[in-house]
Symmetry: C2
């Protein structure tokens, strides 16, 4: 569920926003060059929901509320609050009787996916979900290549652990993602038909 | 994941807070008489997570952000925001390979559970989740009786639809909840062992 300003402009999570503001590629993401991956996925999830395919929602942005006004006869107003780092992934839901849990990441990098896009507790959360029978993955978009991949969490773990253990490389080469991930071609309805890739993961478990 | 004020006091969702502020029983829930059902469930879910039983989290409170400051070299500050009505239930996750989705409601009423505690879109969300193989229910606490029940979403639907269709009664009699629901006895670890009741729902599907 996207958080929007009253003018309808979508609000983006601070970690994302902040890093984009700092990065050279900042302006592009605020330009009219198109939707963010989050917007594309929210639209796709709305399609899946409306067409009885799956129930998958983006979780609200976690906020640390510091000061709230409760004016008489009108809505409570949050006067001071801060963004909190999410302790889980952004998306979860149910599809074909399976618990689905994933995070979506965009990168401006054209040759590899930097692992710092993930936080330790997000990876840990996916490990726990898999342990209990959930289907977990990352949806990774290489913005400059305009390519989107579904990358299995279990594959992500091996790169993550290698980074931790042996101070190995801090990114996943594009070639590896092209080889082990599932390419998701843009479509019209839905825009990102990622559940077709999830079908492959479900069938693997059969 | 509970949202807390810096002093550690738990923040409660506005719909809940507002109604409690208005209701005669308001003060009790802000007193030191004990934890709210939400706090009890968060503690129970933390136990389940730490003991590798299940991964179930409370979703963050949805906030409509209107005005954000991005001061240089410091964290973004939300200067104006409002509480949004949740479009789904508050809790979901994975247990024994199943998608679990539920909402938790407290009532000060000692003889029946008022259906206005639910919103149409929450009921609709549970219908959709069930359609795709999820396990959905409500955890209802009768505060004055100190009794907690798991009440199947499918049972809830029949009362909800009857209320809509025939302008029938707007509450579920306690006796019906005692008869059709599953009583959950307080425990120590976890405080509310509701997954034992969920086991019964899972086994029913076998």
């Amino acid at each position: 569920m996207a958080i929007r300003y009253p003018n309808g402009k979508q609000f983006r999570q601070p970690t994302e926003t902040a890093s984009k503001l700092k990065s050279a590629s900042a302006k592009t993401s605020f330009s009219d060059r198109g939707m963010t991956l989050e917007q594309e996925l929210n639209q796709s999830n709305a399609y899946y929901l409306n067409h009885d395919v799956a129930v998958i929602h983006k979780k609200p942005t976690p906020i640390q509320i510091v000061n709230v006004d409760y004016p008489k006869r009108s809505a409570a107003v949050i006067k001071e609050a801060y963004f909190k780092q999410a302790s889980t992934t952004d998306y979860n839901g149910v599809y074909r009787g399976n618990y689905i849990d994933f995070d979506a990441k965009e990168t401006q990098n054209a040759t590899s996916f930097p692992l710092h896009n993930f936080h330790e507790h997000q990876v840990e959360h996916m490990r726990q979900c898999i342990k209990h029978g959930g289907i977990c993955f990352a949806i990774i978009k290489f913005v400059k290549l305009d390519q989107i991949f579904l990358f299995k969490a279990t594959d992500l773990f091996s790169y993550w652990d290698n980074m931790d253990a042996t101070k190995g490389r801090k990114s996943i080469p594009l070639a590896d993602i092209q080889k082990n991930g599932i390419l998701i071609q843009y479509h019209i309805q839905p825009l990102i038909p990622y559940l077709e890739a999830v079908d492959q993961l479900i069938d693997l478990r059969r």
